[in-house]
Symmetry: C2
Subunit: 315 residues, 2 copies
């Protein structure tokens, strides 16, 4: 049985991605470290893998979330990469770092959240590692399989651009917390309990998705990754982007942590098709733009270009 | 293609393992979080996976190792789990946390070490994640495949117990550093540049290994894991255990971080067979004891029982 890696994707712009490019260059393998998932061909199926670390003080704060929510959110962020590949979830591995001051029950709470997210995605906790360290952190590796993994590359001029769900809730919660306010229950839930879109990802892969990714860095930044990987230009009409109640469109496009799917579909994909997905996965799919020849991303509001910043861990 | 987890192993004693047991109980799945590797059956092959975090101040210090050595050692520790399963390496995923004060070149150095270890094992860097955090840390997930993965369970009364390489070098380096001394070059190399025993692991699996694990916690502690998983008693003659020059036998048995393989072989496995492995993998294999009915581990020196402590991250 042949098993070989078949990944390798160009990246968008920003300091984090400059770093990743430098790493890839140092490895002598520009294919690695780009796409949402690594793909390993095993016989006639593809195993897809992704790893994603959530660190206290960077991705979450203990006074914002319970440890069970931290576990769920850490796993959900990684599981979202499987969704973006159109994959089924087999399971997750969790490398958890706990402060020396932590107790047994806290660790069990975090792992309960990880396990709940894995189970909701149709998988299990396959394994893990436990170590002490200076802060809570969970590095989650997800393992899935796909008949035809979808990557960020493959969008073509003429394709249309679609988005699952709505944006901005998670970032609105973050904005409230950092301003010393209490987020609305709905915004808080978006941040604390994101739902990886595995049902939609699989459905879109089956129905011809040409390129897909999940929105972890924000619509503007992530659209840039898809454009770069596919060597096309994305035009997004911000007025079409569904936003969470109480959120401005520009803020929703700039905010990250949404874990919705951005997907390029063939021109013949219709609003009726989108309704079929909505019924099957209980999740709206909205057309928000188109793919053209060229490079980069145009965010348009009332016909005029809008500048927004994507979230960058290193900004 | 069926893809299902088939892991599930009992653990030895100690605070870390009590915690892991509590987690497993909380997950309602005692199968998870025990063996060196998780095993996922894909068609007629098995994908084996393991995740292992190395954290600054816990597993290494910056003044002991270069960042390239930290990268190598982090990956090698995880790759050693593939060796213990008798698996081939496909590749690794690296979730790296870097302090805000770090620079580009430092990150590239660490990843160069990770990539070198993956390549030496016959694999590549499949993917990764990069985040800032309070300290350097690398959570490495290894992906391999095996026709017949070997676990910690399966040793039977009448089997003989064997060990690759020699013990104690890594712990001797650690002891020197923590005493403010400079370790010997050989001891330092054992700690900084452990060699995962993939060649030996595959060979032993092919030649009938009934149970195998790698020595990360120390001979005494890890022998306890094998005994517990296999529901047998291990008798180890410390006089037979090969130790690094300048290391006492009891210290070698107590020390961790060796990443040698401890393996149970059928009674008919001979010294000539061990020589064949030594030639193929350029690595000695030494008989150090036997498997009996019962439970636990007896460490014998000149016929008398010896008490040693295994390394425990939470002790």
């Amino acid at each position: 049985v042949a098993a070989k890696p078949v990944t390798g994707i160009a990246l968008g712009t920003g300091p984090e991605f400059d770093r990743i490019r430098a790493i890839a260059a140092a490895l002598g393998d520009a294919r690695a470290l780009g796409d949402d998932c690594a793909v390993v061909a095993v016989g006639d199926t593809s195993i897809v893998l992704s790893t994603d670390a959530s660190v206290e003080g960077v991705h979450f704060r203990r006074d914002w979330l319970t440890l069970e929510e931290i576990g769920w959110r850490s796993a959900a962020a990684a599981l979202s990469d499987l969704a973006a590949a159109g994959a089924d979830c087999i399971g997750v591995l969790a490398a958890v770092t706990v402060p020396t001051s932590s107790n047994e029950g806290e660790l069990v709470s975090l792992m309960r959240g990880v396990a709940a997210a894995a189970q909701a995605a149709g998988g299990t906790v396959l394994g893990g590692d436990l170590t002490r360290g200076p802060a809570w952190s969970a590095a989650i590796t997800v393992v899935g399989r796909a008949a035809r993994p979808v990557s960020r590359a493959g969008a073509r001029a003429g394709d249309t651009l679609w988005l699952t769900g709505q944006l901005g809730g998670a970032r609105a919660a973050l904005t409230a917390w950092t301003a010393g306010q209490i987020p609305t229950a709905a915004h808080r839930k978006s941040f604390a309990h994101p739902e990886p879109r595995l049902c939609a990802g699989r459905w879109l892969a089956r129905h011809g998705a040409t390129a897909m990714l999940d929105l972890s860095d924000g619509l503007g930044a992530d659209a840039g990754h898809l454009a770069a990987a596919s060597a096309v230009r994305l035009e997004i009409d911000l007025a079409l982007v569904p936003v969470a109640p109480g959120v401005e469109a520009a803020a929703a496009a700039a905010g990250g942590d949404d874990y919705e799917l951005l997907v390029a579909m063939p021109a013949e994909f219709s609003a009726d098709d989108a309704s079929a997905l909505a019924r099957e996965c209980d999740l709206p799919l909205t057309r928000i733009g188109r793919i053209r020849e060229g490079t980069g991303v145009a965010l348009l509001l009332d016909g005029a270009a809008v500048e927004i910043a994507g979230y960058d861990h290193f900004a």
